[in-house]
Symmetry: D2
Subunit: 454 residues, 4 copies
């Protein structure tokens, strides 16, 4: 089963997970198609088209270990898809076991029925993995948010210190996004796990009157939903899987960007968990590189374009697309693989990061109080209006920056400020813990909601 | 309000709809932000932060006709966003009307609260338009599917004749996809119409204890859902709007591809509706170009990449994104505009196409019976097995192609065929109407389901 | 060397070429990096940093067959790139052979030097393949254009018959585009085959004064150009390779679209070459599917997005990118592989297509003369002006369409036409061979130019 | 001329330049097409097809101020392109001035000739702007590199301090990339400034024998190169413009990313130039946001996808594309606009940034010497081999991190180190200025090369 054809396959362990590779490896690819063929054979028996005596030979032949993968690969290149050589080998295997059974192989189906349904079956397994991994990610985030509910650090807008937040608040934001993705996954799953079965042009004409009965039986065999109509050239459900994972990967990229910025040498508020050989440098012994973030950011760079491919590929002709269909075959699995790798790497990071709360606290002092200028400004505004307050604060900010003094000192020295705010009040205003608004309340609300939907 | 800055703005009537242009024009862009500011002022009054006396001045100032758009544009270029100069002008207007009210303008909010919520309000209007337009499209498709339920034409796979279908069956396929998009629109809408309101870093710190109350009141003023947490750098809901419309545009592209192929001179089974000046050629008086299909195909070429942009832009830093946020501002509206144009153009086409049923029927004869080779093959297979049947039919197909004869004649002349199938049976098998499987049943099911959800 | 990790690796023979797979397989990936390390060792010797006695151990160790690929893959996943475990294994191998030599392994280089230069070496081989394949494609097109220089068929605009062209003219158009891509390949090649060598942050600091000398020697060993500066985070040359191949793939998609449209059952002017098992259908014995076009169209659907990934990935941080660099590793090879597959498949098609010149000729009659309406219109215009001529022709076109008559008959029956144009002249105007302008001249010019640059 | 149809047109001054907006405004769009029509008329006269008496009426009519843009817009929406209503209005204008001249308007040309050549003429102006702006950018970078040739700051890999570089070295890296883009611009320009002229299907059939002569004359009128063949559906030159600008935008994004990271509050090594209202915050008086970087990063997020659109759109059918051609019309101008905005904003920044050399120097101390661990490691390696040296340094790094001491102290206290390196040598090794390799040499080489090609 081993054709090593992937560019840089050596990197797959870096970029994806073993579990997802297993879902989309060649063996499983073929087995999913065989699952379709076996389900079809059983459906033919259930609907009286084939005798039950035909089943044993088909059942025993639907086993990937019997197939010649090299030949499959070679013949797919001229046939234009994998189903044709697969059915050929399957037919031969069945024929050897029971010549009478041979005729019922692939009966009435078309290549696209096999290939599409096979992919649906693989996606079902992929969804299970994503679901479990999202649960794990959410749990890790919830734990982290709870632990650092009140850990103060600078809130940063446009990469500049703006006003204080807590690390738990930051993480709770990540968690809410992950929870929304879990909802999307459920909705997309329901629209995706649908049987593809239409025969040559979607009408199941080869079955005469029995088309619907066979479709019903086959859907039941494979535990898939029946569609109202074959969807050979309506690819919205496959493309939706891509978009749903694209959205998830975007969130993973956002979390990774945050984490990577927090690990910068100058910031040093977070480090990715250490591990033997993890993120080291061959020449610089002091370095610990954020490998998890790198993987997630790489995925967030690659997946959007792959989603665009799936959307572009939707423009498929008549009853079977030329090129558009083919463009999906490696693209959708690739999206699953990359998203899975990013999710897994990042879960590892958020499950046990090193958090440097003292550095967070120290960074709040970096601007010598300016990070609380809005707090003071709002307090002044209550007395003298927003405009006048803003003017005073601009002046005080400038002085603070130029003099290297603390904003508190500058304010205390300003008679206009003193007229309205006491020195105690100034000290209170310049304590970051007093200017985090509803941050703790938000964390609690998110965690409470999460605890009902873990 | 007129800055003509769009590349090829002269083409906007071609590529989009007046209704959607109205939603995303500069005036409405500004008005939506003013709606936020007005809603905020009312929320401040409801929560006792501002006196009700402050309202009249703010209410009368939240009127786009009072704003200097040229200055907005110039100042946005250095401020880095539109909210800053907008709030500046608004504050000045309010101050002129009532200096006491001025201080409550934009109180405690941040630029991103205004800009994001403004876009949410625009999207709400856009969703209404899409919803109505999808209803119209679905109705036109249902009508067309009903009328041509039994109109036979060739089913084509990989652009080759494969087996017969009916035109109604084809259209029913389009309809099922459109119906799925209506469901997606509903789900996305629910996740999107959410207030953005967090102040500088998302904590509503400027409101002290009152943050949640103000948020509640503001959400109620604007008839939006409250979020658990401000989502300044969690862009999954905006990106999801893009993906949902990307999926819809893909389906529109697929329908347009089908239609355009059917209008080819050699096929001529469908023509886009004629209209004064529609699709004409300056030099070739006989031409009628498929303009509707061109617009939808252009959208299906452009939108996937714009969706990728929205996904790439999700990687936003900390509490406010640098560049990623900015990348959304023109991209999401552009997706709405292009998708709307494609939907509208294509609805026009499917609402009154010229259908040439005789040409469809004639095209079924093009292969001199070969389009029914599967039908004959399956019938033979019932007697002699699939493999032997396939061999006979391959031979017969070759003879038909080489001789220019009808497949029927070739089959009648073949003693092996005659041994198993009577000439009457052959004639029956070669009637396209007898080999459309459950096509009519499918159309009926789709139409019945549609009639419950028009 | 066999890790089968590729999604749908069974399809690689369909989508790419053996030659290109060989360039980007894991073994070659590793070997290219070893070529760098060996080149570096030799450069160290040439510049007197390492003794020549160190060379034999390094030379004998730079052999992929000695490496444990499984361990490389596992360790790359935690190290974050392949160079670190590779250098580790290489160092151990060298150490076993000659402990004194061990210290000179990877001396002064950084992971990115190895990885980037390794990819440059792979790209050099890829360029050679593309160059040869473009030569083959151009030769096939030139032959085809020459053979069908004068073969008439309908020119089609917006999929409608417009005016006659020759098949050779059409093919000459394809050829000109291919020739432009050869020029682009040459220019891009020159900018790409550049050594990456900078050490930890690009300054070659580990070499003290000898940095430039080592770089010079290494470039000479590897037969690469030296860059003015290390380009660790300036990725324009790699991204340019992507764009250059993206442009080529676009042209291949265009040719494939044309071919696929010409193979439609209703058109049938061209068929892809037949071959055992090529493009067959499991159930429809009469079908011959355009597999070559499918592969090229799939590539033209996938590659643009991959190019976008390479462009997005250019935004790399400081002296080494986090995520952006990683996003390139599998993407650029994938572009090479897909483009190579499309080029190869399509060359096969254009080298020996079945051309149905009689069907081309017959299709010219499909519009009963209307395809020459411009010819008549221009002739009339010379007498009565464009506007009046256009009006007459619109009327005549309408009559032709409605009556089912020939345009020639309609014109002959029109007294206004007769006043200006004789019946002989009408016949002459309605001969497609008389209305192909400079088509033959164009073909000849293109072929002549080609013959100087085959 | 004012149709305000752009989504968020108010933001155009932020995202693009006035100069580029002027090139792609509607008026210029129309004027470029009129330039084609006028050039054609002159070519008709030069080749004896039209009398010179026809020229005055055409010349005076080719003036945008005479055109009804509202009608152009409305009619383009049903005609499917702008050329048809434009030619209609032009013909009427000419007819009013001189009925005899009217017949020569647009003689023998097709809509695509006008539209494509019009865009080529606009691109010529765009290239001039890009060329001048790249010169300005390169000059600013050269000046900056020269000034800060020796200004030390930390080199950062994966966002971690790695080893020292100079700011001039960093800027010289940016400069080399910009210089490569200038070369690419020249090469692309030569392939792009080509006349499109083929008539209905590219054969210039309407001109009979005179096609080539007219094409020659028209190319000379418009100062464009003639192509070997009309390139109606060979879009590689337009797509190449997109890719070339995509590469440039990628570099601008890279520079902007670097700058934005350097402006972070914790880093503070660079600030964007201040300016009235530039990058301020409505509520936080102390902030100065990196607006230039935001614009460039937004462009670097958006342009890659637009490039993908241009590549996807290359798959155009037969002699005129349906949808693909249409997809280009707004996309290529949008790329020019966004790239121009990014280039201009960033040039402003690099022309007069605030550089905080003391903070750069201070940041070198942040790791208490660890940023020079490679320097020490290499020095030790010369005595005891790389492996043993690496082990010692790992231990010393760990101690430094855990103890909070200086690496120098730790090393001095280590007897194994002392055995091989003197304390003076340690001090020398830990001076960043002694470990920048060939950085200064590189800067000088780049500047010298630049000075020959400014």
């Amino acid at each position: 089963v081993a054709l090593n054809t992937n560019p840089a396959g050596l990197l797959d362990r870096l970029f994806t997970t073993d579990a997802m590779r297993d879902v989309f490896c060649d063996r499983r690819y073929v087995q999913s198609m065989l699952d379709f063929e076996l389900g079809l054979a059983r459906a033919l028996v259930r609907t009286g088209i084939a005798p039950s005596s035909a089943l044993p030979a088909i059942e025993s032949s639907c086993d990937t270990s019997l197939f010649d993968f090299e030949t499959l690969s070679v013949e797919a290149a001229s046939a234009g898809n994998l189903a044709i050589p697969l059915v050929k080998q399957l037919t031969a295997l069945v024929g050897k076991a029971d010549p009478q059974a041979m005729r019922f192989v692939h009966w009435g189906a078309t290549s696209q029925d096999v290939i599409d349904t096979g992919l649906v079956l693989q996606l079902r397994d992929a969804f299970d993995i994503f679901d479990a991994d999202l649960v794990a990610m959410a749990a890790a985030l919830a734990k982290l948010a709870r632990e650092h509910r009140s850990t103060l650090l600078p809130g940063r807008t446009f990469l500049q210190h703006a006003a204080p937040v807590t690390f738990g608040f930051k993480v709770a934001g990540w968690l809410t996004a992950i929870q929304r993705h879990r909802e999307r996954l459920r909705q997309t799953r329901a629209r995706t796990l649908v049987l593809q079965f239409g025969g040559a042009v979607g009408t199941l004409a080869a079955f005469g009157e029995k088309g619907s009965a066979v479709a019903e039986a086959l859907a039941s065999e494979l535990k898939l939903t029946r569609s109202d109509l074959s969807w050979h050239t309506h690819r919205d459900s496959f493309a939706e899987v891509a978009t749903m994972l694209g959205l998830l990967t975007g969130t993973l990229g956002k979390i990774a960007r945050d984490l990577s910025l927090l690990t910068q040498t100058e910031v040093g508020e977070v480090l990715e968990p250490a591990g033997s050989g993890r993120g080291g440098s061959s020449t610089m012994p002091h370095k610990r590189n954020p490998v998890g973030a790198a993987v997630a950011l790489a995925a967030a760079t690659r997946v959007p374009a792959l989603v665009a491919t799936m959307l572009s590929a939707m423009v498929q002709e008549h009853e079977r697309g030329l090129g558009g269909w083919h463009a999906e075959w490696q693209t959708l699995p690739e999206i699953c693989l990359l998203c899975s790798g990013a999710l897994s790497h990042l879960t590892l990071v958020v499950a046990s990061p090193e958090i440097f709360t003292e550095k967070m606290r120290a960074d709040l002092e970096l601007t010598r109080g300016l990070i609380l200028s809005e707090a003071v400004s709002m307090a002044l505004a209550a007395h003298i209006g927003k405009h006048a307050a803003h003017e005073i604060m601009e002046r005080a900010s400038r002085r603070t920056i130029e003099s290297g003094a603390q904003l508190g000192e500058v304010l205390l020295a300003d008679p206009e400020v003193a007229r309205h705010i006491s020195s105690d009040e100034i000290r209170r205003l310049l304590d970051p813990a007093n200017y985090i608004g509803r941050a703790l309340e938000d964390v609690d609300r998110v965690l409470e909601k999460y605890s009902g939907n873990p």
